[in-house]
């Protein structure tokens, strides 16, 4: 009897409360929904704000030098004449050289991991590479400065200079005294930095190849290389390109690893052994010491250019990876 009475009062009060509770639920829901929406939109706002603030900061430099800013090599704080050509050249050249070496190496390692590696050590190596992809770039920079650059200066660069001294084009590329630091050193440091990155992505991409495709090719008597060349690579081409572009975006924007070993010289040398500079290295080296509005604004304009370049590369990369995803979905 007592139980029944409790139940009736309960259900009665619930009936009374129901409209109120529903309303409360709806309000909380609306609040939470708009809160999450605002946060999601803040991502867009941040990217927009980066664009706008950099453009605003570089307005003075772009206004003073106009389009010449991009095509002028001089960088002179004394005469207040700034041009971004040398850093742009350095950025693109170091990244290009790095990709030239890192892509074949990375693909090789990815092929090793997916096709050749005994299953027992596949996981440990894969994990090791993913962990290495997370090591901060300043570590690579400090190693490059203290260990790698002196090594190159003593053993590799004199050899390169001597070997190619009589070869027409290459003697220009490998000319000059062995500084140790310079474009080549920066590129090689970039290689080792983006390598884990390329391997991790291409390996993931290779693993999207349906086992059936691979096995049927093996079943026809294909060798491992033929399976890789004619089945795996064509199937994953889009993803591999996307992954490499992503690595390129990283190489282009890389600051610390490069700043240590590039030499920070504002000139374009034919020789890749000569010191140079990149956009990010210039900003990192000179920003805290920049005197004068135009100098300052020029550095921010460099940052703006870097952002534009990487934005385009990264957008392309994401587009390619998206295409692969859709393909895999089908």
């Amino acid at each position: 009897m007592a139980d029944l009475s409790v139940e009736t009062t309960n259900s009665l009060s619930m009936n009374v409360d129901r409209t109120g509770a529903l309303k409360r639920f709806a309000t909380t829901d609306a609040i939470f929904r708009s809160l999450t929406r605002i946060c999601a939109i803040s991502v867009l706002v941040i990217l927009g704000a980066i664009m706008v603030s950099l453009l605003e900061g570089s307005w003075l430099a772009l206004g003073t030098f106009g389009i010449d800013f991009v095509f002028d090599e001089s960088w002179n704080p004394v005469t207040v004449k700034f041009g971004a050509l040398a850093p742009i050249y350095g950025t693109i050249m170091t990244s290009f050289l790095a990709m030239l070496l890192a892509v074949p190496l990375g693909l090789g390692i990815a092929i090793f991991l997916t096709e050749l590696c005994p299953p027992i050590i596949r996981r440990p190596i894969g994990i090791a590479i993913e962990l290495l992809a997370g090591i901060p770039s300043i570590i690579y920079g400090i190693w490059g400065l203290f260990v790698f650059a002196p090594f190159l200066q003593k053993h590799v660069q004199p050899f390169l200079i001597a070997t190619f001294a009589d070869v027409p084009v290459l003697n220009g590329l490998f000319a000059g005294p062995p500084y140790g630091i310079g474009m080549l050193t920066a590129s090689l440091i970039l290689v080792i930095m983006i390598l884990p990155f390329i391997v991790a992505i291409t390996r993931d991409v290779f693993e999207t190849v349906p086992t059936v495709l691979r096995e049927s090719a093996y079943g026809l008597g294909c060798t491992t290389w033929e399976v890789t060349r004619n089945v795996v690579l064509p199937y994953t081409r889009v993803g591999v390109i996307g992954g490499c572009m992503l690595a390129l975006g990283r190489a282009l924007g890389e600051t610390m690893a490069v700043t240590f070993v590039i030499g920070n010289a504002h000139r374009i040398s034919e020789s890749i052994l000569a010191p140079g500079t990149t956009i990010s290295a210039t900003i990192a080296n000179e920003f805290a010491e920049a005197v004068g509005d135009v100098y300052f604004s020029s550095l921010i304009a460099l940052g703006f250019l870097l952002f534009l370049i990487t934005f385009i590369v990264l957008a392309f990369a994401r587009y390619m990876l998206l295409r692969l995803e859709r393909q895999a979905g089908n």
Binding site: T28, D29, R33, T36, R37, C39, A40, I41, S42, V43, L44, I46, L47, A49, I50, S53, L54, L107, G108, I109, F112, E115, L116, C117, I125, A128, L131, G134, I135, P136, I138, I139, Y140, G141, I142, W143, L145, V147, I192, L195, T223, W225, E226, L252, G253, E254, T255, M256, F260, S280, A284, F287, A288, G303, L306, F307, T310, F311, L314, A315
Partner: protein, 287 residues
């Protein structure tokens, strides 16, 4: 007979070619892995000699003097902590919108695309951005600006993992809760978040690992400080910036400390990544 011979030759050529390319693949793996091992090896050898208790208890020394990295370590911890405190809630909520409320919203793919770009945007550009909107307006460098710059780096990592992890939560769980009359926010908080918790924490750990070694965005936001500083509105030292400054200096004792600092950072980053990995594999096992 002739065809057989030709077949044999073709077969030999193919297997030779296979051997060459597989040899190259093996060689690249050997080169890449030993190169990376070499870097880590040098780092440990050079860093471990300077490792002592004074590294954690004493201030950064003047050139030639003795000292440690205590102020830099504390500065790094403060800024990292603050960056996570700012970046994580915003990132988690943004990821929630993309995976829950706005899953079929036309805005979501756009945000995902932009977020992915932000994820790999050059960190030095983010430093410039914070310089423009915070440091230039405040008129001086500050730890707060450094933390904000790091928060901008944390944000996309958290957004990405939160969305991915929430999308992995089976819809049947949500439907079961909805069938009981549960409002959406309650489903998200009590069902989706719980199921995705390990994954979201993994994302935060990865974000921390990422900002632990970030130098470029701190160079002109937090700057550096020779002394102890817990004042968020004053320039604040951080481990990566101290390493940068010390490594490029001509002083022997500074360089040694830079190596030690580099070892500490690497160790911290690797620990965080391993922790994140263990956590995510555990949650994978539960599922």
């Amino acid at each position: 007979m002739a065809t057989e011979l030709r077949n044999m030759r073709l077969y030999r050529r193919r297997s030779r070619r296979n051997a060459i390319y597989m040899g190259l693949s093996l060689a690249s793996a050997a080169i890449g892995l030993s190169w990376l091992a070499l870097i880590l090896g040098t780092l440990v050898i050079n860093g471990i000699s300077g490792l002592s208790l004074s590294v954690f208890t004493e201030m950064t020394p003047p050139p030639g003097g003795t000292g440690g990295l205590a102020n830099a370590i504390v500065g790094s911890l403060i800024m990292t902590g603050l960056a996570v405190l700012i970046g994580t809630p915003i990132g988690t909520l943004a990821g929630t919108y993309m995976a829950e409320y706005g899953r079929y919203d036309k805005l979501t793919p756009v945000i995902r695309f932009i977020n992915d770009i932000l994820l790999s945007a050059p960190s030095i550009v983010i430093g410039l951005f914070i310089y423009e909107i915070v440091v230039a307006r405040m008129g001086h460098f500050s730890g707060l600006a450094g933390a904000l710059a790091l928060a901008v780096i944390v944000l996309p990592v958290v957004v990405r993992t939160t969305e991915d992890m929430l999308l992995l939560v089976p819809n049947t769980l949500r439907e079961a809760a909805a069938a009981l009359g549960t409002p959406t926010w309650y489903i998200i908080a009590k069902v989706a978040y719980r199921a995705a918790r390990a994954g979201i924490i993994t994302g935060v750990l990865l974000a921390v690992a990422r900002i632990t070694g970030e130098t470029a965005p701190l160079l002109f936001t937090a700057l550096n400080n020779q002394f102890w500083s817990a004042d968020l509105l004053a320039p604040m030292p951080s481990l990566p910036v101290v390493i940068f400054q010390f490594a490029l200096s001509p002083y022997e004792n500074w360089r040694d400390l830079a190596w030690t600092g580099a070892l500490l950072i690497t160790f911290a980053v690797l620990t965080l990544s391993v922790l994140a990995r263990v956590l995510s594999s555990k949650s994978g096992g539960e599922r």
